[in-house]
Subunit: 315 residues, 2 copies
């Protein structure tokens, strides 16, 4: 029996600052229903999918910042996603800003969850690689204050066995800037991940090095494709795209085979669903051969990767 | 003052089984002189550049195997390379099979060296990621017996400060299959490498998964480009190319910018020189920003990369 599953990447176009959760969820429900109609077992939404990408603004009022966070999941506004998933029998991946009241205080994370086709949350990931900066940098047209508004994720890079369609599959998650770091994919790959979901909000303008702006699309695909190939996994990259509050966000959401080939890609910067039939057994073509880790990896030579954070230059 | 250096990638076409070292060195000297005439400070040759790619054959006679190895470097046959380099004032990177008589016995490595423009060896690397298999597999049209003929390199992934042209630069080396492993580039990148040389012999036919044969060129560039971008370094990939003793080897030698862009590429599968002017300061565009390791890496979450060789699947 083949282990094929149909997956959908649900790119979202811009979300306005004053757009309500209910309005956004209505857009997502429409994409979810379309995905199910097209036969998808799973639908993946972007990072911070429920609001505008608020780290572009420096805000001092904590109450205003917290208005972009979710205190519970599902909440009244997001419950319809879970109910529709259960009704349709479709799983989903969703990114959102999480405000967690815990014993040691209040924490804020850039979070993603996996929800199975019965509407139950089966996995949670909190973003590890927070990009951008901590302090207000007025010279930028747009801020990128993820390091200010979020704590670094404290759950590591997990992997989850899940029933998807007719298959059992090992799933992984990451978010946005995580995708630029080969360590992300490798820690997932070492847990046997067969399909990873990576939502992103990527401004096309990168203020520190604007001469790279025209390379945003190339870099996005380069790292996703290399990560897929080097670990023999399917990767679903899902953008929040388009001109959002004056800031252009990259689209080009894509589904990538374990060979590194892009098998589906969005061609708009609006709400758009792409789908692909993913044969999970194709991961073995890589995992059992050129990237047979047990046979070919040489971890003794990799120690520097964990022994240092920054560079250690030769004398 | 800009830190620009002109580098040449000297692809070699096929080397016949009965071609002597002297004949091969003569081809290399011609490329070296061309490189100098075109203004190169450095020329890079392929992996195992002095002989045919002998791991394609299963040979039992150790003396015959050893005939493909170098017992000294330089040797009478390879000394002209060092002399010409000194005379022209050009550095080089060279891959060869090394037979090392050491206190604890005889060792054989797949080795590369860096030679400066005075003809002095300044760095040595012994290949870490040996691909292929150890035992004879008669079902293959060609063997890939690197795991049989070589020991795993015991020098790790080094980095060397070198004077190249008018610049001081941090150089790194790897060989062939190393380039498929993101750990290779990361260990180099963590030592501040600004330019890495990677020679290769890559059969287009991969017997375990022949349905990927048409992707060899794509995979070659994908991993080199991702490694360059994710570590902000120039990468020079140098092929032994063409139909060698009936086996087709990939060409597409290339020079890749720290942005991941291919800035020069061979268009034959013969002896061919490509050159590029490399501004070493452009590494900073990546190393100081999106890949500022000290600011953005999160090694505590990477432990699995060194704690396990093979996969550790979720329960």
């Amino acid at each position: 029996m083949t282990r094929k599953t149909l997956v959908g990447a649900a790119q979202l176009g811009p979300i306005a600052r004053n757009e309500s959760r209910t309005q956004v969820v209505a857009r997502m429900l429409e994409l979810m229903r379309e995905a199910r109609a097209r036969g998808c077992d799973t639908i993946a939404f972007p990072e911070l999918a429920l609001t505008t990408f608020f780290p572009r603004w420096y805000v001092e009022d904590q109450a205003e910042i917290d208005s972009w966070f979710e205190r519970e999941m599902p909440s009244p506004a997001t419950l319809p996603l879970f109910e529709e998933a259960k009704k349709l029998g479709i799983g989903f991946y969703l990114g959102y800003a999480e405000l967690a009241e815990e014993a040691d205080g209040t924490h804020r994370y850039n979070t993603a969850i996996l929800v199975d086709k019965t509407g139950v949350i089966i996995g949670k990931y909190r973003k590890v690689h927070l990009p951008g900066h901590r302090e207000h940098e007025p010279w930028r047209a747009f801020q990128h204050l993820e390091k200010r508004y979020f704590e670094r994720g404290n759950l590591g890079f997990g992997a989850w066995r899940a029933h998807v369609g007719e298959c059992e599959v090992i799933l992984g998650m990451a978010l946005c800037n995580d995708r630029r770091w080969p360590e992300t994919y490798r820690v997932l790959g070492l847990q046997g991940v067969e399909m990873a979901f990576i939502g992103y909000n990527t401004p096309i303008h990168y203020p520190p090095v604007p001469e790279h702006d025209h390379l945003q699309g190339f870099h996005n695909h380069l790292v996703l494709q290399a990560g897929a190939y080097q670990n023999g996994m399917w990767i679903v990259g899902i953008a929040k795209a388009g001109k959002e509050e004056g800031c252009d966000l990259l689209g080009q959401s894509c589904i990538i085979a374990p060979t590194g080939e892009i098998v589906a890609m969005c061609s708009t910067v609006e709400d758009e669903l792409i789908t692909a039939s993913c044969d999970l057994d194709r991961c073995r073509e890589l995992k059992d051969n050129v990237f047979n880790f047990g046979l070919h990896r040489e971890p003794e030579t990799y120690r520097l990767i964990v022994d240092t954070k920054g560079p250690v230059l030769p004398a």
